[in-house]
């Protein structure tokens, strides 16, 4: 009897561990930009690092395009993007989709704070 109970407990623990491990979470390195978006009536922007690093090395955005490494340190406006700065360097209709496709970048859940999300193992450094 005791043995069956112990087995059941282990089974339930395993299920619990599985549920915890498969909880919904952002992809590692996803950045939410919402310093301006929602104030202007748009959904926050979700920037997926994984998608971009397949196509560009870190240095393209973080050196050539002038994005600071720390999430939240970049105050990017749509004006600047339209003028070809920051995201606008590629999101111009030639290298990647142009700025008219608002809904392709502004896909974030309303109410999300700016910062770096995701993390299978850690939630990222505390100060973010």
């Amino acid at each position: 009897m005791i043995r069956i109970q112990a087995r059941r407990r282990m089974f339930l623990l395993t299920i619990l561990a599985f549920v915890i491990s498969t909880q919904a979470s952002a992809e590692y390195g996803d950045v939410v930009l919402n310093q301006r978006a929602e104030k202007e009536g748009m959904r926050p922007v979700v920037f997926p690092h994984w998608f971009h690093r397949i196509r560009f090395r870190c240095k393209v955005c973080h050196s050539e395009l002038g994005f600071e490494m720390r999430a939240g340190a970049n105050d990017v406006t749509m004006d600047e993007i339209t003028q070809g700065k920051f995201c606008g360097m590629c999101h111009n209709g030639t290298t990647a989709w142009a700025v008219e496709n608002c809904d392709l970048c502004h896909t974030g859940r309303p109410g999300l704070a700016s910062g770096i999300y995701g993390g299978h193992e850690t939630l990222g450094p505390g100060r973010w």
């Binding site: 491990s21 992809e27 560009f56 050539e64 859940r109 505390g126």
Partner: protein, 180 residues
């Protein structure tokens, strides 16, 4: 000697642990940052589509990005401006003030394959041996290595990947590289 029951317990525990290290890329509609009601969400690539084809890893994006690049699975652009100078530096730096832990080997090569020198020098790290004083506390706070590791590069739970050189081996390296 473990009893049958203990073995069974071990099996369940191991199963629970391994489920955590399986690749588990979420669809964008269920990843907690995207709004499932966003009209163009179905036009975006999903992580599993791209990441499942790359060399696997146990942490972060569950992709070994350095190997993905080295083995040619991906060939991300190095520059947009034609005049940008591309520099790859093949130089290992050792940090030996690590108390009881293994010595840290910092390989410039994989870092400079992705990054430009100015990304780290001299804002985050000063150039030159012994010029930088930092520890795990500041790294965990998001300073130094922690600007990327724990955010986009492999997370800080992967201790052994940086603390990788046993003391004896380090001493041999020191002897071999120090001019007599």
């Amino acid at each position: 000697m473990l009893s049958v029951r203990s073995w069974r317990k071990c099996f369940w525990l191991l199963l629970a642990m391994t489920t955590n290290s399986f690749a588990d890329w979420k669809p964008l509609t269920a990843d907690s940052v995207h709004d499932p009601a966003a009209p163009a969400l179905n036009l975006l690539q999903i992580p599993e589509d791209a990441l499942s084809a790359l060399p696997p890893d146990s942490a972060g994006n569950k992709v070994n990005w350095v190997e993905a690049l080295r083995q040619g699975h991906i060939n991300p652009r190095t520059n947009i401006f034609p005049e940008t100078k591309i520099e790859v530096l093949d130089l290992d730096i050792y940090f030996d003030q690590t108390a009881d832990l293994r010595v840290v080997r910092f390989p410039h090569r994989p870092h400079t394959e992705w990054l430009d020198c100015v990304n780290c020098h001299d804002q985050i790290f000063k150039r030159g041996r012994g010029e930088n004083e930092f520890g795990m506390f500041s790294i965990l706070e998001g300073e130094f290595c922690g600007q990327c590791h724990g955010a986009v590069a492999f997370p800080l739970t992967e201790c052994d990947r940086c603390h990788s050189v046993p003391r004896e081996e380090y001493e041999k390296i020191q002897k071999a590289t120090t001019p007599q």
